[in-house]
C-alpha cells in the first residue's frame, strides 16, 4: 500500500527500523523459573499478564497511560483525516486513507489492552470526551497545508516511534504486544511522510516553500512530544522514577529527545529542509547534536487547553460519538433480540 521508497529501503529511517526495535521485541520467557510474584517478575524483566496479581497503583498507572495512548491514536486521525478529501493525487489519497485507518486500528488494539486491566472502552471514551483523560498535545496543532501530512508522518510518527519502541518491552504483556504490532505500522507512516516531503522538496518553488513551512511549524512540537526535561533532579521523584522501576518506562524523556534529534538531522539534510533551530549543531565531544530549548511555556499552555485545536478536536470527537449513539443502540438492541430468538429456538427444539 505504501509503495515506492524514494531512498534506500535498507537505510533505517526511524527507531522501528533499527536494532533497538529488535532488541526491544526479543523477549525471553522465564516465567517457569521466576514464578508468579509481581516483584520477582519485574526484577527478572518478565511480563505481567492480566491474570497476575498486581499493585493497584501499577494497574492505575497503566490504565492511564494506555488510555492516553489509545485516545492519541483516535484523536490523531483528525489532523490528517481532514486531508483525505483533498489529497493532491490518487496515490496520495490511497496512502492517506490507509494511514488514518491504521491509526484507528491502533486505537482499537490499545483500548483492548486497557480492557484487560478491567475497564471498558465506553468508560475510557467518556473520560476522553469529558476531558478527564488526555491525548497527546501534538494533535492540538493545526494541519494548514498538504505538506503538514508529510511533516506529521516524518516528525510526529517518527517521534511516536522513538517513544514506543522501548514500550515493546514494557512489563505489562498486552501493552508490550500491542506496541510490537503498532511500531511496525508506524514505521510505514514515517516513511510515507518522508516521501511526501521528498517529493515536495524536489517539486516547484511553491511546493518547496510549503514543505519548509510545515517543518518549521512541526519541528518544535515534535520535540515536545517527549515531555518536559526529566534528567538530573527532575527524574528522581514522581511518575518517572516509579514507571522506570516498574519497567513501564525505559529511557528518560531527554534521552529519547536526543536520539530523535540525532536521527532526524541527517534526514532533514537529505530532504533539503532547514530545521528551525539556530543552536542545532554537531558536538563531536558528546557525539550528539546540540540543540535549542523547547518553548515549555507554550507546551504547558497548549497542554492546559489553550492550543489552536484543543476545542475543535474534542468537539469533533464528541459530535461523531453523539451522532452515532442511535446506531450503537440499534446494534445492541438487535444483538439482544437475536440472542432471545436463538434462546427461544433452542427451547422449541428441546421441547420437540
Amino acid at each position: 500500500m505504501y509503495g515506492n521508497d524514494v531512498i534506500d529501503p535498507n537505510e533505517p529511517l526511524n527507531a522501528a527500523e533499527t536494532d533497538a526495535y529488535d532488541a526491544a521485541t526479543a523477549h525471553e520467557d522465564q516465567r517457569d523459573a521466576v514464578g508468579d510474584d509481581f516483584e520477582a517478575l519485574i526484577a527478572a524483566d518478565q511480563r505481567i499478564e492480566p491474570r497476575d496479581a498486581m499493585p493497584d497503583t501499577y494497574r492505575e498507572t497503566l490504565i492511564r497511560q494506555i488510555a492516553q495512548h489509545a485516545h492519541s491514536e483516535i484523536i490523531g486521525m483528525q489532523p490528517e483525516g481532514n486531508w483525505i478529501t483533498r489529497a493532491p493525487s490518487l496515490r496520495r489519497k490511497a496512502i492517506l486513507i490507509a494511514k488514518v485507518q491504521d491509526e484507528a486500528g491502533h486505537g482499537l488494539y490499545l483500548y483492548s489492552a486497557a480492557e484487560t486491566l478491567g475497564i471498558d472502552r465506553q468508560e475510557l471514551l467518556d473520560r476522553l470526551h469529558d476531558g478527564k483523560q488526555k491525548y497527546s498535545s501534538i494533535f492540538n496543532y493545526p494541519t494548514l497545508t498538504w505538506a503538514d501530512c508529510g511533516a506529521i508522518g516524518w516528525l510526529v510518527d517518527g517521534a511516536a516511534i522513538m517513544n514506543q519502541v522501548p514500550l515493546c518491552r514494557c512489563s505489562y504483556g498486552p501493552y508490550a504486544r500491542a506496541m510490537i504490532r503498532v511500531c511496525k505500522e508506524e514505521s510505514f507512516h514515517q516513511r510515507q511522510g518522508f516521501e511526501i516531503l521528498w517529493n515536495l522538496m524536489r517539486g516547484t518553488e511553491s511546493q518547496r516553500a510549503m514543505a519548509q513551512d510545515a517543518a518549521d511549524r512541526w519541528w518544535w512540537p515534535a520535540l515536545a512530544m517527549f515531555g518536559p526535561p526529566d534528567t538530573g533532579e527532575a527524574a528522581k521523584g514522581g511518575h518517572t522514577a516509579q514507571s522506570m522501576a516498574w519497567g513501564i518506562k525505559r529511557f528518560s524523556n531527554d534521552d529519547l529527545r536526543q536520539k530523535f534529534v540525532d536521527m532526524m538531522v541527517p534526514q532533514a539534510e537529505k530532504l533539503g529542509i532547514v530545521l528551525p533551530d539556530p543552536d542545532l549543531r554537531w558536538n563531536p565531544e558528546r557525539g550528539h547534536y546540540d540543540f535549542g530549548e523547547v518553548d515549555w511555556d507554550e507546551f504547558w499552555r497548549v497542554l492546559r487547553g489553550d492550543g489552536a485545536c484543543n476545542a475543535e478536536r474534542i468537539a469533533h470527537r464528541r459530535r461523531a460519538h453523539e451522532e452515532g449513539a442511535w446506531v450503537r443502540e440499534a446494534a445492541n438492541a438487535y444483538a439482544a433480540k437475536q440472542a432471545t430468538r436463538e434462546q427461544q429456538q433452542q427451547q422449541k427444539e428441546s421441547a420437540a
Binding site: S89, L90, R92, E323, G324, Y334
Partner: protein, 283 residues
C-alpha cells in the same frame, strides 16, 4: 486549443481540453489504438471514484471506530477500482492520460458518474441505504463483466467482485441491524430507503456508450442488471422488517452524459483544488 487537429502529441491536459463532451462518445475514438468504449468505462471508473470520495468523508465521523475502519476499507477498494481503470482508459481513448489527469483535472461536465454516488453524505442510515443499492448493483455488474471481451475489463471486474461482495455483506448487516434494532433506527432506516429512491433508476438507464459497449460484448446493458439487483436488495429489506418503497415523483438522470446535481461541483472543488493550484506539480 485551435490547432488540435494537426497536433501530433498533445499533452494530457490539452487532450482533456479538447475531449468532446459526454454524449458524443463515438467522436473520441479517432486516435490510433483507440477503442470506442472508453466512455463506458469512464462511467464505471467515475462511479467508483466519486463514491470513494464520499466514503472517505466518514473517516473520523463514523458511529464507532470499527466503522471508521470499515468505511475506509470500502473507500480504498473503490479507489483501487477507479485507479485500475483510468490508465487503461487513457490508453484506449487516444489521450494517454493518467489517473490524476482524470481525477484531478477534469471539469464537472466531463464526469460520467451517476447522481447516486455524488449526493452529500446524510446520516449513517442514508449511507447504508446507498451502499446497499450501489454494492448490490456492483455485484451484478462485475459478475457480468468478468465475461467481458476485453481482458483488462474482465480482470478489473474479477478483482472488484470479491471486494464488492464484502461491501454488500457489510451494508446488508447494517440495514438489518438498523431496521430490526430500535424504533428510532427503524424509522431512520426506512426514511433512508425513501431518500435514496430517486437516484436508483439512473443506474439502469441505457445511453449511447453502454449500448455500444454491450454490442461489442465488452460491457453489459444496465437494464439487464435491474431485476437481480432489486431482488438482492429486497431480500435484505425484508429481513430488516422494512418495506421497499416504490415510485418517486422525480428521478435523477443525465449523470452518464455529464449533467450532474448541485453537490458534484463542491465535491470536485474540494477534491481537485490542491492539484489544480499547482499546475504541473507531482506529489
Amino acid at each position: 486549443m485551435s490547432d488540435h487537429v494537426t497536433s501530433a502529441a498533445p499533452s494530457a491536459s490539452e487532450s482533456a481540453e479538447r475531449e468532446s463532451l459526454p454524449g458524443a462518445a463515438e467522436n473520441t475514438g479517432a486516435a490510433p489504438g483507440a477503442k470506442p468504449y472508453a466512455t463506458y468505462l469512464l462511467g464505471l471508473a467515475d462511479d467508483a471514484m466519486v463514491y470513494a470520495q464520499r466514503l472517505g468523508e466518514w473517516m473520523t465521523n463514523a458511529p464507532q471506530i470499527e466503522e471508521d475502519m470499515a468505511l475506509g476499507n470500502i473507500a480504498l477498494d473503490l479507489l483501487g477500482q477507479a485507479r485500475g481503470l483510468y490508465p487503461y482508459i487513457g490508453s484506449i481513448d487516444g489521450t494517454g492520460r493518467g489517473e490524476d489527469d482524470y481525477a484531478m483535472l477534469r471539469d464537472e461536465r466531463r464526469w460520467h458518474n451517476v447522481h447516486l454516488v455524488e449526493q452529500e453524505r446524510g446520516d449513517f442510515a442514508d449511507e447504508m441505504a446507498r451502499l446497499l443499492w450501489f454494492s448490490a448493483y456492483q455485484v451484478e455488474l462485475h459478475t457480468a463483466l468478468t465475461a467481458s471481451a476485453d481482458d483488462v475489463v474482465a480482470g478489473v471486474a474479477g478483482k472488484a467482485l470479491k471486494e464488492v461482495r464484502y461491501h454488500l455483506d457489510h451494508a446488508s448487516l447494517w440495514v438489518v441491524r438498523l431496521g430490526d434494532g430500535t424504533e428510532e433506527s427503524h424509522r431512520r432506516m426506512q426514511a433512508a430507503l425513501e431518500h435514496v429512491l430517486p437516484h436508483l433508476a439512473e443506474l439502469f438507464d441505457h445511453d449511447e456508450a453502454s449500448v455500444l459497449a454491450a454490442d461489442l460484448e465488452v460491457g453489459v446493458l444496465p437494464s439487464t442488471l435491474h431485476d437481480a439487483v432489486v431482488a438482492r436488495v429486497a431480500r435484505v429489506v425484508e429481513q430488516a422488517t422494512l418495506t421497499l418503497p416504490d415510485g418517486s415523483r422525480w428521478r435523477s438522470r443525465g449523470g452518464r452524459a455529464g449533467i450532474h446535481s448541485r453537490p458534484m461541483g463542491s465535491l470536485l472543488a474540494e477534491m481537485q483544488h490542491i492539484a489544480r493550484s499547482h499546475p504541473g506539480a507531482t506529489w
